[in-house]
């Protein structure tokens, strides 16, 4: 088992837990999607895996183990080695994680050299190779660009490229395609699937697009109000939802050629 989470409670400040009793497990190469509406705690769950809860959020109960290591006992140095290499993350808008006053190439090189002892030219060559894998044309041009000069879809491809540089064993993705329009979303989803399958990476994705969840996932978790309503095989849940909330969610998804209100 690559990742195993049991009885996880997450608390912000001294209040009652925001997220309660989360249990999940993930094998190598498996894709788990967490769906639920805003404020249901889905982002909190994946942030806790990377030890990156915002503010005074902390794990108040339960265990998180990654390849048999207890994530709660890691030192800062151990976290630094793990983050970005064995476990990496893709954000909703990768433009926000990039430094606006440094070129993409500068940041990419810095990131690669942090986790390896490559020379500048080796690191640049590596960056170009990975950007090409994400179907970005003119990878050299992109390295000399600033984040604001790229479109949303291109920025997102850069973010994914950086996240998969070291073939992470676990990839966390927080709404990786929600800010994109449908055609770009479709391309990114397919490219993401391809790179994940090629490198045998396990992935946990947060989304509220049930179509994307259905296309990508092996496992599915439905959350509402900080609790897990359903967890298990994605196909089973989508074809035979148990909770009323999941049923409502599925009924809300518009389909082309389906129901019409007018």
């Amino acid at each position: 088992m690559l990742l195993e989470i049991n009885d996880l409670d997450i608390t912000y400040g001294d209040n009652t837990p925001t997220v309660e009793n989360v249990k999940l497990s993930l094998n190598e190469g498996e894709i788990l999607t967490i769906v639920g509406e805003s404020g249901s705690g889905k982002t909190t769950v994946i942030r806790s895996i990377l030890g990156l809860l915002s503010g005074d959020g902390h794990v108040s109960k339960g265990t998180l183990s990654f390849k048999g290591r207890d994530l709660k006992t890691l030192s800062l140095k151990e976290w630094r080695e793990l983050r970005g290499k064995d476990i990496s993350m893709i954000f909703q808008d990768s433009g926000n994680m990039l430094n606006p006053v440094q070129t993409i190439g500068h940041q990419f090189r810095e990131y690669i050299q942090l986790h390896s002892d490559m020379s500048d030219s080796e690191a640049d060559a590596k960056a170009v190779e990975i950007l090409k894998r994400m179907h970005l044309p003119n990878a050299e041009n992109i390295l000399s660009s600033y984040a604001f000069e790229l479109s949303g879809g291109m920025r997102q491809r850069v973010g994914i490229a950086m996240a998969i540089t070291f073939h992470p064993q676990l990839l966390l993705a927080d709404e990786p395609t929600s800010a994109l329009d449908v055609t770009t979303q479709a391309q990114i989803v397919k490219e993401l699937m391809q790179v994940v399958k090629e490198s045998g990476t396990a992935m946990i994705m947060v989304t509220h697009n049930l179509g994307v969840a259905s296309y990508m996932s092996d496992k599915l978790m439905v959350m509402a109000g900080g609790r897990v309503l359903e967890y298990g095989n994605a196909r089973d849940i989508l074809t035979n939802p148990q909770s009323n909330y999941t049923k409502t969610l599925l009924a809300s998804v518009p389909t082309i050629g389906g129901k019409r209100y007018v």
Binding site: E37, D181, A186, G211, L249, S252, V262
Partner: protein, 262 residues
């Protein structure tokens, strides 16, 4: 498309609108290229396309935010792209707008009642003493509790804020409401409830909607007419219930980009 041939039904006609922007390198970007669309009274016209296809530029032209390079928009016998500032202000009584992100469309320091009634106060239609009563009435129309009159925008969820934005757009009893990606920032279940609300209001009041969106599945739920744009040009105009049968290659691309749940 028989109903569009009937000129009595046509409330607004967009005629040969072209909008060019001069770029800093001296080149010219043609954001809208000879666009002709008839907007039918009491119906929903959806304008779909990827980012950068010119749909927002077109809306800005309709709203008089900028002047077209050529072409006109006829509304009640007048070209509304050539109005004086004074006439433009009066014209906004008939055309209102709902934006993508209600959090940024509201002044965070104003209470809901003042936000909703600002258009009415601005046109001197109601006195200060009538604000609370009218705000309650408008909140009822968008299915929000009356107690919300004294709330601030930050203490509401995204869906509730979007309902308030709709209430504000309704305040002046406009004939046309332009929705620019009005549900794109919302979760599926919330999105569904907002669409149901828009449809209900249309049936009650005969409001005409111009709905800008990139999600074809969503517009197939409730549009009477769908206009597909790409790179500033109208590729296809078709009836909302015929969307799935489109044979146009670009429309097919957009349709195929939608992930379905099953």
């Amino acid at each position: 498309m028989s109903e569009q041939n009937n000129t009595n039904d046509c409330l607004m006609s967009i005629e040969h609108i072209t909008k060019e922007f001069k770029l800093s390198d001296g080149n010219i970007l043609r954001a809208c290229n000879d666009i002709c669309i008839d907007i039918s009274k009491g119906k929903t016209t959806a304008i779909v396309g990827e980012s950068g296809c010119g749909k927002s530029t077109l809306v800005k032209t309709i709203m008089g935010i900028h002047e077209p390079t050529s072409g006109r928009v006829m509304f009640h016998g007048k070209d509304i792209t050539k109005l004086s500032n004074k006439e433009k202000r009066q014209n906004y009584r008939h055309i209102q707008m709902v934006f993508q992100d209600p959090a940024t469309a509201f002044n965070p320091k104003m209470k809901v009642k003042d936000l909703i009634c600002e258009p009415l106060r601005s046109f001197g239609i109601i006195s200060k003493g009538e604000v609370e009563e009218r705000a309650k009435e408008l909140l009822r129309q968008v299915d929000l509790p009356e107690e919300f009159v004294n709330r601030y925008p930050h203490s509401m969820s995204g869906g509730q804020r979007q309902r308030v934005a709709i209430a504000r757009a309704l305040a002046l009893e406009p004939e046309v409401i332009v929705c620019d990606e009005a549900t794109s920032a919302l979760d599926v279940s919330v999105q569904d409830s907002i669409i149901k609300l828009l449809v209900k209001l249309q049936q009650e009041k005969g409001i005409t909607y111009i709905f800008i969106c990139h999600d074809l599945a969503l517009v197939s739920l409730f549009s009477h007419k769908v206009v597909v744009m790409q790179k500033g040009t109208v590729m296809e105009q078709l009836d909302g219930d015929k969307l799935a049968e489109s044979t146009h290659p670009y429309t097919r691309d957009l349709l195929n980009a939608v992930f379905s749940v099953h």
